[in-house]
Symmetry: C2
Subunit: 451 residues, 2 copies
């Protein structure tokens, strides 16, 4: 019987494992090795667990170890894969429970090692300074919040995690300061004016947003070991009882690199569209780069949606079926207080760097017909290419019902639609749901005039 | 200077008029004749006006007569076009204010006469029996509700209007019975199981839903003239203080037919994709049929979204520009209490009648990650074609955030996507907004296995 060894038991790994068994229908042995005690959990849910929206960490586990084993997967928790021997077709596994190391032969190996929070040396500053990445981080935060009852928090980083954690702290009544290098929050993936809307939403929650400021040092503060002090470029200092780090993640590729496998320009593994990395070696999830259909190149977009899909593609192929991962268009969404914040495709700057004549256009509209009580403001920025008339990207910030409208733009980008075509789409209208021209279409209609 | 005469000053007519002037940039005289006193209003908002969500009827007017005149349109209210002389290039207009009739020459005429509520003879049963179509109907309903304080209402018809008006009555505390011929509400455009979900949503609002029952007679009841009694097939009777009619609309085509112009299989005018009906004659809006891109034939889909777009296309072409109306895919949405109800594309039955090997698949999922407090149930039925694997249609009933997801399916249908491609789209995911696989994608993924 063929043996597949899966390295990493989160979204990509367990999607691959489950799907391989499902498709193969039995003639396959699947061993999944996981260094922690957790499987298939929603890292994206951690900020909401911190805020108390989610009662306990178990709720974030999509499928437990017991369920995976019942499905026929030989799941080995606290078994860390420490080596990969491509020529022998073996992995080296360290069993943390029994403190022994063994070698395990495979016919196929799936690298699903995920991503890890960036944690520069300066950020290792005591037990009140933590990233927000793993289920263990989440549990630590819950403990810290419950036991130490921090009065003030510092959030380092203005990306998705930073914004979500700042929202969680603020909703817990903690005085919160968010420090970001960018001119606005979310500036690495939103146009500045849209980032400004996110900043204002955070400010409405009571978060103090400090932009254009880089933290360069952290040190534990206070004799009881609680709290930390952050030093920024320019000499400004911030003290807080707790510090949450949201300064980014990187693909965890040490195992692959140790085996002589290459990484891409953005530091991730680059499997083909069947998720094959090398002969007998598969890769999927946050340890990989993904093909960006709009940009036409690989990009590092560590998201659970892609991990689930790519894992499933790998599993289908491993099980004897046939599937391709068709790439991504760069869609993402989050919430900042009363603002829904969503994006897809390119920024003007990215498009220009790729040699495309990009322009953007912003419209103010409403989530529902203006006369309805449900109606909230929403802002849409659409980005397109002169000459071709193609839609290249979109960003939305607005009230309830605004954010998921980004999916229309994502589907349009997927199909390479022109902005003027998007304006004529047959989208759903009724007064509680939309103005008669959906704001996405208004933006595209006006953008088309510029193109 | 060329003179364009627009017949009908609602969505299609005034979109055409405004856009023609905008594109032509001055070298155009636009006369718009309207038999009522209203312009450019949202008929879709009337049920919400009745329910008190909208403070007054003026709020439903998107653009007033004064605004249109300021834009340079010669807008003539209570001027009813009573004749169309194609060979002379003239319309006959009756001025209700001055009670005189005149002829008006045109270079181009735009027929935007809209649709009218079906009102069979049996339905003319006193002033407590009314359709819900025009702003005047809305005003009458507001007056009836405020002055007569009806205790119980009967709604005849289980389509969009019937469901929306039943919701409005129920929210006003009026004991409401909805009678529909269909096996479930919405049965003319939803699969029966989805219609059953709409019925249950109405029942949660306290509405008594009577299915499979046809009203054949209405008569005024009570000596004070208030109220009516409805007789149904089979002898059952319902008495109510007020009766709202939502039994459908038909294209208003008498003017065109009187001029010798033809109507299509569904009773509407059938202009080409530039909105040209005949030499010098244009048509747009609810008096027209529209091209259904999925079905590949013309269909009668009287909706404000199409009217606005088709009017704009006509106006662009009239003004010297170039535009085409690309058709529709049959998207619609409404609300029934706590349920959002949306559809696009074909029903299984429609597809089979068109000779396509259609199957449907239904999944239960949630609007947000299952562990989030925002999470509400949602049901998705996806319809696809065996062999080609194409998605043919979708219907959604669910909690807040469920309905507008139909736009992904609408955009997919527009682009002729296969169900398995929809399953791999890069849609927005974060716990407050969606499970990691969006319910639309789960439905398409499972449907693809059946295809």
């Amino acid at each position: 019987m063929r043996r597949v060894v899966v390295v990493g038991a989160d979204a990509a790994g367990m999607s691959a494992a489950s799907q391989a068994l499902r498709v193969a229908g039995g003639d396959l042995e699947v061993v999944a090795c996981e260094s922690t005690t957790h499987t298939s959990y929603s890292a994206c849910g951690i900020p909401y667990w911190m805020a108390g929206d989610v009662p306990d960490g178990d709720a974030l586990v999509a499928r437990t170890a017991v369920e995976h084993r019942e499905n026929g997967i030989d799941l080995r928790l606290r078994h860390e894969v420490t080596g990969l021997d491509l020529s022998a077709g073996e992995v080296e596994v360290h069993d943390h429970e029994r403190s022994h190391t063994y070698r395990l032969g495979y016919d196929e190996v799936v690298l699903a090692t995920g991503a890890e929070a960036l944690l520069p040396d300066w950020a290792r500053a005591g037990d009140a300074v933590l990233p927000v990445k793993t289920l263990d981080d989440g549990a630590a935060w819950r403990r810290i919040v419950a036991e130490r009852r921090p009065a003030c928090a510092l959030v380092v980083g203005g990306g998705y995690i930073g914004v979500e954690v700042a929202e969680s702290f603020a909703r817990l009544g903690i005085t919160t300061t968010l420090v970001t290098r960018g001119a606005e929050p979310m500036s690495s993936s939103f146009e500045p004016a849209m980032g400004a809307l996110v900043r204002r939403a955070l400010e409405r929650l009571g978060v103090d947003v400090v932009t254009g400021t880089e933290v360069i040092a952290l040190e534990p503060a206070g004799s009881d070991g609680v709290g930390a002090r952050a030093a920024c470029v320019g000499g400004v200092e911030y003290a807080a009882d707790v510090v949450a780090l949201g300064i980014g993640v990187r693909a965890r590729t040490a195992l692959a690199v140790g085996a002589g496998l290459a990484v891409g320009a953005h530091g991730g593994l680059v499997p083909d569209d069947r998720q094959v990395l090398a002969d007998g070696v598969w890769a999927a999830g946050d340890c990989c780069e993904v093909w960006d259909r709009v940009l036409g190149e690989h990009w590092f977009v560590p998201l659970g949606t892609h991990a689930n899909k790519a894992g499933r593609v790998a599993g289908t192929n491993l099980g004897g079926g046939s599937a391709c991962f068709p790439g991504v268009v760069g869609t993402a969404i989050t919430r900042a207080g009363d603002a829904e914040v969503a994006r897809t495709g390119l920024l003007v700057e990215w498009a220009r760097r790729a040699g495309r004549d990009a322009v953007s256009l912003t419209v103010e509209s409403t989530t529902a017909a203006g006369y309805m009580p449900e109606s909230d403001p929403m802002t849409v920025t659409a980005i397109g290419e002169r000459g071709t008339g193609l839609l290249l990207g979109m960003q939305i910030v607005g009230g309830r019902g605004a954010g998921k409208r980004i999916d229309v733009a994502a589907t349009a980008l997927w199909n390479g639609m022109r902005a003027d075509d998007v304006a004529m789409l047959d989208l759903a209208y009724a007064p509680p749901f939309s103005p008669v021209w959906d704001p996405v279409q208004i933006a595209c209609r006006k953008l088309a005039l510029e193109l």
